[in-house]
Symmetry: C2
Subunit: 362 residues, 2 copies
């Protein structure tokens, strides 16, 4: 078992990497020994529970943890689910010395993290992400929250877990769509920060699709290390951290337009194609890169096309994006690992780029 | 106009003291010049608006601020009011560069502060407290939140404003009950930290009751300075900050038991009497102090008696207090300005002290 210590702003926490789910308990015991919580709670995505029932039940008995299963669909990422967690914690007399373990994907981590950040003004939590997207992206960096009035993550906070445990075993039971969703974020990391990782994916796409431990471990650790560097420098998302939103402005709007039938990472992957096209126009980005990425998507089986169903709502979602001021602003790239943040983009430029990319014939 | 700079943890913000409401605008302009917000919003307690309508309306025009009035009763300190603020901010396209001014008492500051701490993961806010209790206590220290399931402030965060503007003019239009409520907190500060201030109140109670600028200014600045020192040392309420809860455990339970018909500060004042009695038993506290405090309450017209209406619910509220672990723990004093925190107290000891104090014949 390898361990990575991560230092974000004034708060430090550890990220544990484990190969098997059995090793999770070892990491957990280590963490519990440090914090010595008065009570332990496990809040679990019901889907994860259904697959890993005996493991979760045994862990609860062994750790003397009280269990709550929650439904972690995007449309349930709301105040009602947050309140259900508050109710559970109140009923079980959770107090400031208690600790909560979140077990599930990005939605579980976001909702449980937000509930923990606000229950009694903050109780300790540990994040055990189970999807590729949460392992590579959302579990590190302290962003927690929920959707309000169809605006994704519009209510939230910056709140770090006391530890993150990343177990690659979980990826093996991930539905294909969610696996592809995670790959969308991994490609984003390679484009904004890591030429080597892009080359690696192009060469090793078959290993990746076969979920080989070696390749997944390489990708996840790389993404976590990139995210660690970025959020350490800009925890409150006021500058550099913006680059992590590459592909996300369009991505979020596609999620809204599709009523969340398109997964986050796939929407980001589509958003990346649009952002690359805009980058070509704005910064003369080499057009070969677009072809390389389209080819990589094809090899990895990632969706290349999407037709916007309602342009008005789509543009409205874009305008309401948290990342905007009065103007619509995008993260664009001049080259691999050369980002430009907060670039003002017009609605016309967006429409044109969409026609040339995800609504085109490529 | 005098200014105090306050440094809490890694965040700094300024506290402005003004004598007249007109001077508030000068302070506001100074703050706005520093932060240069894209949009300005004023969220105002409807009671304050009704008294200061023309001032508030003029300020909104002058500052180009959008106005929302909210009802700030204790029973409205809930997620519905928080959501009404979210709705207003979304409708008016507030973004991360916007700034919100909260104008009202402690409830306004707590709710608006919480909404600001969570809207888009945090937008800037300025607190303009209008009551004695919020000017001396709740506006400094970063605690924001709302009540959930009858548990006071059970959902919340630590979130600092960018500035606090304290205008003593507001005290003159304060209902008597709320003025007395504020005095309860001031007496708390004198008992936990400041022998001189207690002497001052005993000598100058007539000036205080006449709301002389000199005496109010002295008390408010003293309390703010004490709070500044305490929260700078322990922002996250893990140690020293506990002393600010002197009288509050019983106080909160009285608020619940009375269905909030007893104001916060009066409940704290009653809680102080009980805590003094327990302190006599536990730490041999000089019984003269209890007599002095009863005498001061009598001079200031602060309530001395309260009969618990439902002991079961009262004890239940005590057990659910955020400050507790498995046991009920109180802040007690050995002498003026000599506090003991997290003292384990039994339900029997509490009942006995209540009989000897607020339910007695004193």
């Amino acid at each position: 078992m390898k361990k990575n210590s991560i230092d974000i702003g004034i708060e430090k926490y550890s990220i544990y990497f484990t190969e098997t789910i059995e090793q999770i308990k070892i990491s957990l015991k280590e963490i519990i020994n440090v914090y010595n919580p008065s009570k332990l709670f496990l809040i679990c995505d019901i889907n994860v529970y259904n697959i890993y029932k005996s493991f979760v039940n045994e862990m609860c008995i062994e750790m003397k943890a009280e269990l709550l299963n929650i439904c972690c669909l995007e449309e349930k990422k709301n105040i009602d689910t947050v309140s259900a967690i508050y109710d559970f914690l109140i009923e079980k007399h959770a107090n400031r010395d208690s600790m909560v373990i979140a077990l599930g994907g990005g939605i579980a981590g976001d909702i449980v993290g937000f509930a923990c950040s606000t229950y009694m003004r903050g109780i300790k939590f540990i994040n055990v992400p189970t999807t590729l997207i949460s392992q590579t992206d959302s579990s590190v960096g302290g962003k927690v929250g929920y959707n309000y009035k169809d605006i994704k993550n519009s209510i939230g906070a910056f709140y770090n877990p006391k530890a993150v445990i990343i177990c690659i075993d979980f990826i093996k039971t991930l539905p294909e769509e969610q696996f592809k969703s995670g790959l969308g974020e991994v490609i984003k990391y390679s484009l904004i920060y890591d030429k080597e990782m892009l080359n690696y994916m192009e060469t090793n796409y078959k290993d990746i699709l076969n979920i080989s431990y070696r390749s997944l471990s390489y990708l996840i650790k790389n993404c976590v290390e990139i995210k660690r560097q970025v959020v350490t420098e800009d925890f409150k998302d006021e500058g550099l951290r913006n680059i992590l939103n590459f592909g996300h402005s369009i991505g979020h709007a596609i999620e809204v337009d599709s009523h969340y039938s398109i997964s986050h990472g796939e929407a980001v992957a589509l958003g990346i194609l649009v952002a690359l096209k805009i980058s070509e126009g704005k910064f003369n980005l080499d057009k070969n890169l677009y072809s390389r990425i389209v080819n990589l998507y094809a090899n990895l089986g990632i969706r290349l096309n999407y037709d916007i169903s309602n342009y008005d709502e789509f543009m409205n979602a874009l305008r309401h994006d948290k990342k905007n001021d009065q103007n619509i602003r995008f993260v664009l790239i001049k080259d691999i690992a050369k980002c430009e943040i907060k670039v003002k983009v017009t609605e016309d430029e967006i429409r044109t780029a969409i026609k040339e990319s995800i609504e085109g014939d490529s």
